[in-house]
């Protein structure tokens, strides 16, 4: 048998879609308020079908390699601009053993200083904190730096004739902003954030105007798996029928759409308010409506919905959502499409960020490795809401830190239905981590279409750690 792949085979690989089901684009095209261009486009590429080697999830040496390569060269979401609204405000962002003081040094200038005193190395600000500083003063011996990073004071300077203040400026990582997010990159030679995202993905993010939202709820939890497994649990809707059976009656899971953009961004669109192809013939339109699960249903109150004869659950949901979310969040949604109101848009910006620009599922996820254990990771869920029409921006929510044994439903403000979904997702990953370690098979096998984001993500990992040519 020949190992040569013919052009015909290459064309066919990844071309199959869920049989007998409308495509995501078909469903959206039938909506009353039409979706914008970024919704109504496709960008799938077949990227191979070989197994994903599993040492990357279990080998401590691989985790060290990631810290020395991948995490030092990529653009990472460090905080939202609203976390540091005033000049002098700072927010401490950590990745592994690295730590950065993200600070607003002028009204429109944000910097990221390596969070360590240049005397004997003490962190200038404790990890996980925010505040405002007129200077950054070390709590050990009192050396201090101005907001612009220049060295302000060496206590007992007479004893440090070898310290030239001009050479003791705080080192910086690069900072760029998009949609109200502050991204940092330790690599001075990295491409710009715009180049890193690529023109198409950047145009999508620009279209969302996420700078006009604020953090309404912020929940963090440590997960019992490598950071990449945590991310991959959220990159496909393939698991919905088995993991979230309560969601399937109102989610087009097997006919979700998957797209990849350049090297660092990928997405799915998973339609809601339509039945799973797995359940065709078993669920009525009223059932769909009754089982619709929302990320932010607190906006909806106790209203009950009914599908009229001949109508669809999706159309009813779109109509009612628009009015109710407008009222609950005091915003104008008249021009927002049905799809943006209803559907789950999940974008990954490699390596640590998920953006969900929809209205009913308005989340941001962030994932990082646990600094002390490569078999654990830190997961954060942030819910964004539009800034009220009066323009008064509420303070961003304080993070709620769940213990390892706590349910997401225990976080105050979390929708119970959505919290239960997150519990189901995060219960899977502990078993997966242990199973990968227990397995006789040293590779993960992926679907060509529904799991393309995982392959896309892992290929980026491989490029950064040097397993694969850039």
């Amino acid at each position: 048998m020949s190992n040569t792949i013919t052009l015909k085979e290459l064309k066919e690989k990844g071309a199959a879609r869920c049989p007998g089901a409308p495509s995501t684009q078909d469903i959206i095209a039938a909506d009353k308020v039409a979706a914008p261009g970024w919704v109504r486009s496709e960008s799938y590429r077949f990227l191979g079908d070989e197994d994903i080697s599993t040492d990357r999830y279990i080998d401590p040496a691989f985790a060290r390699l990631e810290m020395d390569t991948l995490w030092k060269k990529t653009w990472q979401f460090a905080c939202r601009e609203e976390h540091i609204p005033q000049v002098g405000d700072y927010h401490v962002y950590d990745i592994g053993h690295y730590s950065f003081i993200i600070t607003r040094v002028a009204e429109d200038e944000i910097r990221a200083y390596y969070n360590a005193c240049l005397h004997r190395g003490t962190k200038l600000r404790a990890s996980g904190t925010e505040g405002n500083a007129e200077e950054f003063k070390c709590s050990f011996h009192g050396w201090s730096w101005n907001l612009d990073g220049s060295h302000k004071q060496t206590v007992c300077h007479w004893d440090f004739p070898h310290v030239d203040p001009k050479k003791f400026t705080l080192p910086q990582a690069r900072v760029e902003r998009i949609g109200g997010f502050v991204f940092i990159n330790m690599d001075q030679n990295a491409p710009t954030l715009a180049e890193y995202l690529g023109p198409e993905a950047k145009a999508h993010i620009d279209a969302w105007n996420l700078q006009d939202r604020y953090v309404y709820l912020h929940v963090t939890k440590r997960l019992p798996c490598n950071w990449k497994l945590a991310i991959e649990a959220f990159q496909e809707a393939y698991h919905v029928i088995e993991t979230h059976p309560q969601v399937a009656p109102s989610n087009g899971d097997a006919n979700s759409q998957y797209d990849v953009y350049g090297e660092h961004v990928d997405r799915f669109i998973s339609t809601l308010g339509v039945v799973s192809p797995h359940l065709y013939g078993q669920v009525s339109e009223q059932d769909i409506l009754n089982q619709f699960t929302l990320g932010d249903s607190s906006a909806l109150g106790d209203t009950k919905f009914t599908v009229k004869e001949g109508g669809t659950a999706r159309a009813v949901m779109a109509e009612m959502f628009r009015g109710m979310f407008e009222k609950a969040t005091n915003t104008d949604l008249s021009k927002v499409s049905d799809s943006e109101l209803l559907d789950c848009f999940s974008y990954t910006v490699f390596p640590n960020t998920f953006l969900f620009p929809g209205i009913s599922l308005p989340m941001v996820y962030r994932f990082r490795p646990d600094r002390n254990d490569h078999r654990k990771s830190l997961y954060e869920v942030l819910f964004l809401r539009p800034v009220p029409k009066d323009g008064k921006r509420p303070m961003p929510a304080e993070p709620i830190h769940l213990r390892d044994d706590q349910s997401f439903t225990e976080a105050e403000g979390m929708d119970p239905g959505f919290g239960a979904i997150l519990d189901q997702d995060t219960d899977n990953v502990g078993l997966q981590q242990e199973g990968i370690e227990a397995s006789a098979k040293r590779g993960l096998t992926l679907g060509n279409y529904q799991e393309i984001r995982i392959r896309h993500f892992e290929q980026a990992v491989e490029r950064y750690v040097g397993m694969k040519k850039a």
């Binding site: 005033q86 002098g88 405000d89 200038l124 600000r125 404790a126 996980g128 904190t129 925010e130 505040g131 405002n132 500083a133 007129e134 003063k137 070390c138 709590s139 303070m395 961003p396 929510a397 304080e398």
Partner: protein, 111 residues
């Protein structure tokens, strides 16, 4: 009666500021006897805490208020506005808190 109980019995609500002079998310330091107290309006809730950081005894009044906390501007120790508890290093000890109420147009603190 213990000394502490005597002190508690002697405590009285003292008007320190006009409510109108402390808009949402602002703070003001006031002197009541020997104590320097920071009165905070945090998202329209009033708090009163000692204005002296428990870590290095510097004033907190120029620090940033977040949702329910204030950060010392000098080294970044944060304190819970309701309980006074230290939330992060370099502070470990709490700062004093005082009961606060509104009486007519006045903000009063129990000292």
């Amino acid at each position: 009666m213990s000394t502490e109980a005597n002190a508690a019995a002697a405590a009285t609500f003292t008007p320190v500021l006009k409510l109108a002079d402390l808009p949402a998310n602002t703070k003001k330091a006031v002197q009541v006897g020997a104590r320097c107290i920071l009165v905070c309006n945090n998202n329209d809730k009033l708090f009163a805490i000692s204005n002296v950081c428990s870590h290095n005894e510097k004033p907190l009044e120029r620090g940033r208020m977040g949702n329910g906390w204030i950060a010392c501007p000098v080294h970044g120790a944060r304190f819970d506005l309701a309980t006074g508890a230290a939330l992060n290093l370099p502070a470990k000890l709490p700062v004093a808190t005082y009961e606060v109420r509104v009486s007519g147009d006045d903000i009063e603190v129990l000292v």
